[in-house]
Symmetry: C2
Subunit: 112 residues, 2 copies
DNA sequence: AATTATGCATAAGAAAATTATGTATATTTG
DNA sequence: CAAATATACATAATTTTCTTATGCATAATT
């Protein structure tokens, strides 16, 4: 809620990670999933999610399959081959980032 | 270098944290400091730093003292009273964010 | 003498989000 | 049964925050 802005820049990585663990997911499902996983800490907005998904698709990292469930449309996303590679890379970057940030905010900081 | 975008949104927190540990710092010094602390992983650009400092100042979290060293100007920043409080808050938010992100990218993710 | 380093600053543009809408079906609740 | 909430997608306008480019000026190095 409050610190949503810190998540800026990490949405694509989060999506890719979700798809690494769940072969097929649709947008609305991702939002609910993340909400539960983070105990409401991160609420992905649709205005951010859908453009991000479209971008990942246009970059060839995910592909879409449209299914009709009941009378409602669902667009199921899954990782492409290059998406699998990209996911590893992004998670690696994220890990390094987290480690760096951790050091920055815990360090005594004083240098020479 | 590569994953600079993950740092988006965390610059103010980094600045505040630096000033929590070093009573007085000037802009150029912060850039060098962070470069060393992160082993070149994070290179703060001046175009980001100076506006951020000015914003923190206008919000009353830091105050400035201009010194002339040799023939060159230095603007030393330090935390105000409300800046000290704000710093604790921001670091708390950052910690929660880091923890949440850590869980997200390591979790098995599969829910019901 | 020219380049790099120190030290500040701002403007133009890009990237990625928020907020506000819009459409439509399904389910729950009063 | 009507109204509200949940499901499911989408996009446009705006905001935030950054990168890139530029500018000025002094100091140190090559």
């Amino acid at each position: 809620m409050s610190n949503q802005k810190l998540f800026k820049g990490s949405l694509q990585t989060i999506i890719l990670k979700l798809l690494e663990r769940n072969a097929k997911m649709y947008g609305y499902e991702m939002v609910q999933h993340v909400k539960q996983l983070t105990n409401e800490e991160l609420n992905i907005t649709e205005g951010a999610l859908y453009p991000a998904l479209h971008k990942l698709e246009s970059e060839g990292f995910v592909e879409v399959e449209v299914l009709k469930v009941g009378n409602r449309m669902r667009k199921y996303y899954s990782l492409t081959k290059s998406g699998v590679t990209e996911t590893s890379d992004r998670i690696g970057e994220m890990s390094r980032f987290l480690e760096t940030m951790e050091q920055l905010i815990t360090s005594k900081t004083k240098l020479a």
